[in-house]
């Protein structure tokens, strides 16, 4: 005679099947709790990973100084046309080069506002004047050809390295290498194609997300061809912007010095700039911020998960209390026939655990499915760590035990005679 757990579980399942709808509805509470935990964890993890990846692309040992347009001066508000001069200057670059010993490399970048054409195809990518160091400092990969070199710089060569998106649009069929593209009024020979910057799958179906729509030309060549000042007509306003340098990337020799370089450059720029026309971006700080954001997100998530499982648990408890009352007579019979208190506790606990484990298991399936849907249709990255389903499932099973204990205890404590008299 098998009086083992298997039999108890089988009997529990059978009792639950007597009230299919009720059991199914009870299970739903746990199901949604579990699946939402897994789905939210996956989305959160995906977002955090994407953020970290983007920050890492900036180079975690780099400090990036950028020009930003200062807030509008209201005194000049009604001029029809004006020239706005702002941003980092060549003088800034010189000062930095002289004073920062911990900086391994200093890479100034300058944007040129020019159209890029090949045959009848036209694009307006970011045309960036960059020194050869740029590739090493940012760790960007080449798809084919080479990056700009020292000799390009010395010879003021008319060469260009195009980003992945530019290559795709200008040369959908041909090999871009060796072709001449027109940048503004001058022809540049393509010598290299950069690899796409971000993981490709997240660009899928988003034509606007061309983070690689860039064309790089040698720094000196740009200076010669397009002038020392970058003049840009801004669409929508009649301002002409005049910026000497758009970006200066400082590659620091070790992570410990990043913070020092960051604060030193903030201080120095603060001393020489009258207005806030620059920003200092420190990927290392951003990483710390991203970690903090993730921590907060996890706390919020934990609370939501806790609440939803609590609600599911209360649902289970409610149903089990009703079941216990309904089956008072059965309890009386079993007790009269020799069932000990622990047998009754086990019987009802098994039923709640079957409910919650069933709900938890289905919740895991749904929870693994939701991130796939989100990834497919909302175009967000999701990452399901093995921990998430494990955690969610164990918590749901635990919920069954915790919220099943009280009804089971109530059942076991009944007086057999009283229970038998119950209608």
């Amino acid at each position: 005679m098998d009086s083992g757990l298997l039999r108890v579980v089988r009997l529990g399942v059978r009792s639950l099947l007597l009230h299919r709808l009720r059991s199914a509805l009870t299970t739903l509470g746990v199901l949604f709790g579990t699946s939402s935990v897994i789905a939210m964890l996956a989305i959160g993890e995906g977002a955090s990973e994407e953020a970290q990846e983007q920050i890492r692309l900036l180079g975690s040992q780099n400090v990036i100084l950028r020009s930003v347009k200062p807030p509008d001066d209201p005194n000049q508000g009604n001029q029809r046309m004006r020239v706005v001069v702002y941003g980092l200057t060549n003088d800034d670059l010189l000062r930095i080069q002289e004073t920062f010993p911990a900086v391994k490399e200093i890479v100034p970048l300058k944007e040129v506002s020019q159209e890029v054409r090949y045959l009848d195809r036209v694009l307006t990518p970011r045309v960036i004047a960059a020194p050869p160091d740029y590739q090493r400092t940012t760790g960007r990969m080449l798809l084919s050809g080479r990056f700009l070199s020292e000799s390009d710089e010395r010879q003021i060569a008319s060469v260009a390295v195009v980003g992945y998106e530019v290559a795709r649009h200008l040369f959908p069929l041909e090999d871009p290498l060796g072709k001449n593209v027109r940048v503004g009024g001058d022809y540049f020979t393509v010598v290299g194609v950069l690899a796409p910057r971000v993981r490709q799958s997240s660009d899928r179906g988003r034509p606007g997300a061309d983070t690689t729509s860039e064309v790089f030309v040698p720094f000196e060549t740009a200076r010669k061809r397009f002038g020392d000042l970058s003049v840009r007509m801004r669409a929508g306003s009649q301002d002409i912007e005049q910026i000497e340098l758009h970006e200066i990337i400082l590659a620091v020799d070790s992570p410990e010095n990043v913070e020092f370089v960051a604060s030193a450059s903030r201080e120095m720029l603060g001393r020489f700039h009258e207005q806030q026309d620059y920003e200092v971006v420190v990927p290392l700080e951003l990483l710390a911020q991203a970690a903090e954001t993730k921590r907060i997100f996890n706390i919020v998530l934990g609370s939501i998960a806790g609440i939803s499982l609590l609600v599911g648990g209360i649902g289970i408890m409610n149903v089990m209390l009703a079941t216990v009352t309904e089956r008072t007579r059965e309890i009386g019979i079993r007790r009269a026939l020799g069932a000990k208190r622990r047998h009754i506790v086990t019987q009802f606990l098994v039923e709640t655990v079957v409910l919650s484990v069933g709900g938890g298991a289905m919740g895991v399936v749904l929870g693994l499915f939701i991130p796939m849907v989100v990834e497919r249709y909302a175009d967000m990255r999701t990452v399901v760590t093995p921990l998430a389903p494990t955690l969610a499932f164990s918590i749901s099973a635990l919920t069954g035990v915790v919220f099943g204990l009280y009804p089971a205890w109530r059942a076991a404590r009944m007086d057999p005679v009283e229970a038998l008299r119950h209608e």
């Binding site: 005679m1 009086s3 039999r7 009997l11 059978r14 009792s15 007597l18 007579r329 059965e330 009386g332 019979i333 079993r334 007790r335 009269a336 026939l337 020799g338 069932a339 000990k340 208190r341 622990r342 047998h343 057999p416 005679v417 038998l420």
Partner: protein, 223 residues
Amino acid sequence: MLDGVSRVYNMGGQSLRALDRFSFEFRRGEYWSIMGSSGSGKSTLLNILGCIDRPTEGRYLVRGEDTGRLDDDALSELRSRHLGFIFQSYNLIAQLDVLENITVPLLYQDDPPKDGWERAKHLAERVGLGSRLHHRPRELSGGQQQRVAIARALINDPAMILADEATGNLDSKTAEEILALFDELHGEGKTIVIVTHEPDVGERAQHLLRLKDGCIEEVRHQR
């Protein structure tokens, strides 16, 4: 053996003595019927004999052992091992089939016998339900349900069988079958105590005990 047993029910400040300083001894192998008017305490007495209820005062000894000293688990084990209880209203478990209902007492024994299913099948045949092994209680007639309840009371090969109006709801032919079964069990040496309202049922037993207001009114040795 009951020694000065009282069972007092307290309800809303009023206390009611369903059994009043009741002393009596049921010996091994005896066949007793208990009669008495409604509310005289028959069921109360049977519940105490079946260790489902405990006396408020006095002692109930089973084979010389005071049940008042036993804890809940020990009493439960006693019920599942040595007692067979037949209820007035069958009290089968709805979600279990005939065979499963019969084996319920074995589930709760500390070390259940291995041959439970064979025994249950054998008993079902003995009470004439050999062809209904996998029916649910609601698919059976009242008499058939009562017979399942009897088979269940016998599954643990109990020393004492207690029946509370086991034939109350049955037609005379079915009742007769069941009484014949009791005679047979008595012949096998089991102690039997049945509660009944029907005089002709009461008269079939070896001894008759008549209760009134929780006290003994009459003891008659019939055979």
